[in-house]
């Protein structure tokens, strides 16, 4: 092909053709086109939120199914640990609603754990409870914050791992 950027433009040489071409109109799509388009796209998040999301994605780059499994296991263990700790701390409240006290229940658990050669775990739990009581920290607030953190972490993990939404129906 003879492509030449200096090729003279022949517009104007044929006024009739120019008039016809310049008179070409535009077509219109069906009414509601914009609505249909907007309904099929997900408008991007604000910049600051996308930056946060990208930062989080960077953290989990290379996450495998095993990592997810481990994370889920840890989160489950943490959730159960939190519930047990709260129960032990507030056993007098909980006791009113059940036929067996939490103290007794935890003793039974510790006994069972001992039988299962898990004495260190029970001792750590008790020691942890004593330590928290000794620090005078707002135990209830700590536990609530802990539980919220677990829930938020789980949601964030799901969000970070989610594939970008598709937009076409």
């Amino acid at each position: 092909m003879n492509d030449d950027a200096n090729l003279p433009v022949d517009e104007g040489a044929d006024p009739a053709l120019d008039r016809w071409l310049d008179g070409l109109g535009r077509f219109s799509p069906r009414q509601g086109f914009a609505d249909r388009v907007v309904a099929q796209v997900r408008v991007p998040l604000p910049r600051w939120l996308r930056g946060l999301r990208n930062w989080g994605r960077g953290l989990v780059t290379g996450v495998t199914g095993w990592t997810l499994l481990a994370t889920a296991s840890l989160a489950t263990a943490a959730a159960w640990g939190s519930m047990v700790a709260v129960g032990m701390r507030y056993d007098t409240v909980v006791r009113e609603g059940v036929s067996i006290s939490w103290t007794e229940a935890s003793a039974m658990v510790r006994g069972a754990a001992t039988d299962a050669l898990l004495v260190p775990a029970g001792e750590v739990l008790v020691a942890g409870e004593r330590w928290l009581a000794a620090t005078g920290l707002p135990f209830r607030g700590l536990m609530i914050a802990y539980a919220i953190t677990i829930v938020v972490s789980a949601i964030a993990l799901w969000w970070l791992m989610a594939q970008p939404a598709r937009t076409r129906v």
Partner: protein, 200 residues
């Protein structure tokens, strides 16, 4: 959130910036501004109204999904046309096409719908007879354009319907400037041949 008054007066660059910040109204405004140019380009390329609407939708969806990658040093319109043209060309490479209708959407069930979707050839006529003549002339010109190669057609549309400069057409189509000039020169030559009888 931006008001509709601000949106309508804002430049493309500003509206795009708002859209990049997650303003749905800004994106809707971009669609409103470019729906007819994009649809017209694609429709004349693929010559199937329903398909053209699908491809135009696809264009805007791609635009929105990639809005973060848009760089303001380039013209937004060029970017949109480039995506639209690529969508049409990709389709043409896969499919054969049928004839162009000038009378509105084939599935239009109401007069308003047909009118809204019909080609607006000219609104400069002063009488029904002139309007009819303009419509017939427009029909023949459209048929002549439909006979052009898709590459020529895109060049002619961008040049004469959208009024783009040769350099911008080269950017949109990803072609050297000389090639664009050659395409337009040859397209005009072919159109002259096709439309010769109209001069008599």
């Amino acid at each position: 959130m931006t008001g509709s008054w601000d949106l309508e007066r804002a430049s493309d660059r500003q509206v795009v910036a708002w859209a990049q910040d997650g303003d749905e109204a800004a994106f809707r405004e971009l669609v409103r501004r470019y729906q007819r140019p994009v649809f017209s380009l694609v429709y004349r390329m693929v010559r199937d109204r329903e398909l053209a609407e699908d491809l135009a939708q696809e264009t805007f969806i791609k635009v929105m999904n990639a809005i973060d990658s848009y760089r303001p040093e380039h013209k937004f319109s060029s970017w949109v046309f480039k995506i639209a043209n690529n969508a049409a060309i990709d389709h043409l490479r896969r499919k054969d096409l049928d004839a162009l209708s000038l009378d509105g959407a084939p599935d239009a069930v109401t007069a308003e719908w047909r009118e809204a979707t019909a080609l607006q050839i000219s609104d400069r006529s002063e009488s029904p007879l002139e309007e009819l003549e303009a419509r017939e002339l427009g029909s023949q010109i459209e048929q002549a354009i439909a006979r052009l190669r898709p590459e020529y057609r895109a060049c002619i549309m961008l040049r004469h319907v959208e009024g783009r400069a040769y350099e911008e057409i080269a950017t949109v189509l990803g072609l050297p400037l000389g090639t664009v000039k050659t395409y337009i020169h040859r397209a005009r030559g072919e159109l002259r041949d096709y439309l010769g009888p109209l001069r008599e």
